[in-house]
C-alpha cells in the first residue's frame, strides 16, 4: 500500500464557482497505516462528472502534521507530482442542480500519483461513506475544522477585495491631489510675488474672484465632458437635425460662457488669466493671450469636417486667412505692450531709491492687457461663430466633438505627464 509510512493529511477541496476554495473533507491518511483492498482501489483520483463543482482542487500538505498550512501549487491534470503538490482540475462540470453536492476526490498517494479512470458518482459516494464509517471518530473534529477553514478563506477573500479597491481609490486620489498641489503651488508663488512686489495692498476681491473662477471652471470642464459624450452618442445614433442643432447651440454657448467667465476674472486679475495656471500643463503649452489660438482651432477642426462643398472650402479658406491676420495683429500689439512696459519699468536712473513713478506708469500701461485678453477671447468667439455659420448642423456637431475631444486629450496628456515615473537620479 503506497500510503504506508506516510503521515499525510489530504485535504479535499471543492472549489465553488465563485467562492473559491473550501475544504470539505479531510483525511488524516497517516492515522491509517493501511487501507482495505477496495479502499485502495477507490483511492484513485476520480471525478464525479455529475457534480456541480466547477473546479476541484486537492493538495497534500507536507509530511509534518505540524504545518497544517497547505502548500498550494497548481499543476495540470495528469501531471504526477511528488507530495506537496496539488492538482487543479479546470474543467467545468455539469450541474445536477444542487450546489451542495460534494465531490469526493480520492487521492492515491504515492511517490507517483496515478489518475484512475473516472468512476461513477455512486461509487464515489459509497467509497467516501465507507471511509467515513471507518473513521467516524475524527469526523466531528474534521467537520469543525473544515467549517472554520471555509469561513477563514471567505473572510480572507473579502479582505483582499476590499484592500485592492482601497488601493485603486487611493491611487486616483493621489493623482488628483498632486495636480491640485501643483496648481496651488504655482498660484501661491504667483500670488506671493504679486503681494510682495506691490506697495498697494490687495483687497480680498482678487482672491475671491479667482476662487470663484476656479470653482466655476471646474464645473465648466465637467459639463464640457458631458456634452462631448452626448454629441458622440447623438452622432452615432443619427438623431434628427433639429435635435442635433440644439446640442450644437448649447455646445457653442458653453464656450461663450467660458469667455464671459474669463472676462470677469480678467478684471479681478488679468495676470491670472494670461498665466494660464487655471489650465492643465499641456493646454498651457499652447496658450496664446490666455487661451487657445483661433488658428489652432481651425487646424484641429477642418480635417474632421470632410466632405466640404466647394463653397464651404472657399469660406473656410478665407476664414483661416482673416483669422491668421487678426491673430498676427494682436500678437504684434502684445509685443508692443511688452516693449512699452519694459522700457517704462527700466526707465529713469537706477541709483534712485524711489522707483515708484516708473512702476506707477507701468501700472497704467498694463491696464491695456485686459483689453488684449478680451480681444483674444472675442477672436475665439468670432471664429467659432463663423464656423457655425459656414457648416451644416451635422458638420458643426462633428466639429464640436473634435474640438472638445482635442482639449480632453490635452488634459489627459497633462495628467499622464504629471504621473510619469521619476527619472533615475544621476550617480
Amino acid at each position: 500500500m503506497p500510503f504506508s509510512n506516510l503521515p499525510l493529511l489530504v485535504y479535499i477541496y471543492q472549489i465553488w464557482e465563485e467562492e473559491g476554495i473550501e475544504a470539505i473533507e479531510t483525511w488524516n491518511v497517516g492515522e491509517q497505516q493501511e487501507l482495505e483492498g477496495d479502499e485502495e482501489s477507490k483511492l484513485s483520483i476520480a471525478l464525479d462528472i455529475n457534480s456541480t463543482c466547477a473546479k476541484v482542487a486537492f493538495f497534500i500538505i507536507s509530511k509534518s502534521m505540524n504545518s497544517p498550512t497547505p502548500q498550494f501549487v497548481p499543476s495540470r491534470l495528469g501531471i504526477y507530482e511528488p507530495i506537496h503538490q496539488i492538482g487543479i482540475w479546470g474543467e467545468n462540470f455539469k450541474s445536477n442542480g444542487n450546489p451542495n453536492t460534494s465531490t469526493s476526490v480520492i487521492v492515491e498517494v504515492d511517490n507517483k500519483l496515478e489518475n484512475e479512470s473516472e468512476t461513477t458518482s455512486h461509487e464515489m459516494l459509497t467509497a467516501s461513506k465507507n471511509y467515513e464509517q471507518e473513521a467516524s471518530k475524527p469526523i466531528d473534529k474534521i467537520q469543525r475544522r473544515l467549517a472554520q477553514n471555509r469561513e477563514a478563506a471567505r473572510k480572507s477573500r473579502l479582505r483582499k477585495k476590499a484592500y485592492v479597491q482601497q488601493l485603486e481609490n487611493s491611487r486616483l486620489k493621489l493623482i488628483q491631489l498632486e495636480q491640485e498641489l501643483q496648481r496651488a503651488r504655482q498660484q501661491g508663488l504667483y500670488m506671493g510675488g504679486v503681494l510682495e512686489g506691490s506697495h498697494i495692498g490687495f483687497s480680498g476681491t482678487v482672491n475671491s474672484g479667482i476662487a470663484a473662477f476656479e470653482m466655476e471652471y471646474g464645473r465648466w470642464v465637467d459639463v464640457q465632458h458631458r456634452q462631448i459624450c452626448e454629441l458622440r452618442t447623438a452622432l452615432n445614433a443619427h438623431i434628427s437635425d433639429i435635435e442635433l442643432r440644439i446640442l450644437v447651440e448649447s455646445g457653442i454657448g458653453h464656450y461663450f460662457e467660458l469667455f464671459r467667465m474669463k472676462s470677469t476674472v480678467a478684471k479681478a486679475d488679468v495676470f491670472y488669466v494670461i498665466s494660464g495656471v487655471w489650465k492643465t500643463s499641456a493646454e498651457r503649452f499652447f496658450s496664446w493671450i490666455g487661451g487657445f489660438r483661433p488658428s489652432e482651432l481651425l487646424k484641429v477642426l477642418v480635417p474632421q469636417l470632410d466632405p466640404l462643398t466647394e463653397q464651404q472650402i472657399l469660406e473656410v479658406c478665407n476664414l483661416k486667412q482673416s483669422c491668421q491676420q487678426a491673430e498676427d495683429a494682436l500678437s504684434q500689439g502684445m509685443e508692443k505692450l511688452q516693449e512699452t512696459v519694459s522700457s517704462t519699468v527700466a526707465g529713469g536712473p537706477v541709483d534712485e531709491v524711489s522707483y515708484i513713478p516708473q512702476v506707477a506708469t507701468a501700472m497704467e500701461k498694463l491696464e491695456a492687457l485686459v483689453s488684449f485678453v478680451n480681444q483674444a477671447d472675442h477672436l475665439r468667439q468670432e471664429t467659432l461663430q463663423q464656423m457655425s455659420r459656414i457648416l451644416t448642423t451635422c458638420q458643426a456637431a462633428r466639429g464640436l466633438l473634435a474640438l472638445g475631444e482635442y482639449f480632453h486629450r490635452l488634459r489627459a496628456l497633462s495628467t499622464l505627464w504629471a504621473t510619469r515615473p521619476p527619472e533615475p537620479s544621476l550617480p
Binding site: Q325, G333, S371, Q375, H378, T383
Partner: protein, 101 residues
C-alpha cells in the same frame, strides 16, 4: 466735435488713435497687412485731443480709440473691425482703398 466730423468725412480709411495705445497699434498692423494706409489721427498729440475723445464717445464708440471710419461711415472699435474681418465684410469695404506695393 466739428473737427472730428470734418475728419471723418475725409475719403478713405480714417483711424483715430493714441500713440501710447497698443491696441490701436494692432489695428494699424492689420490695415498694413491688408494693404491699406489709413489716415491716422493721434488724438493724444492733438491740442483738441480731449474734445475729440468726447466727440468720439458721443458718436457711439465704447472706447474713444481705436475708432475706424471707412468712407465717412463709422465702423467701430477693435471688436467691430475684427468681427467684420472674420465675417469677410472688411475686405470689400477696403477694396477701393487697397494699394499693394
Amino acid at each position: 466735435m466739428d473737427k472730428v466730423m470734418r475728419l471723418t468725412t475725409e475719403r478713405g480709411v480714417v483711424l483715430f488713435s493714441k500713440s501710447s495705445c497698443c491696441l490701436c497699434y494692432a489695428v494699424k498692423i492689420l490695415f498694413q497687412e491688408l494693404g491699406v494706409t489709413p489716415t491716422i489721427h493721434e488724438i493724444d498729440q492733438d491740442p483738441e485731443g480731449r474734445e475729440m475723445e468726447r466727440a468720439l464717445m458721443r458718436l457711439g464708440c465704447k472706447a474713444p480709440v481705436p475708432a475706424v471710419f471707412i468712407g465717412g461711415k463709422l465702423v467701430g472699435s477693435t471688436n467691430e473691425v475684427m468681427s467684420l474681418h472674420l465675417g469677410g465684410g472688411l475686405i470689400p469695404l477696403l477694396r477701393p482703398y487697397q494699394a499693394f506695393c
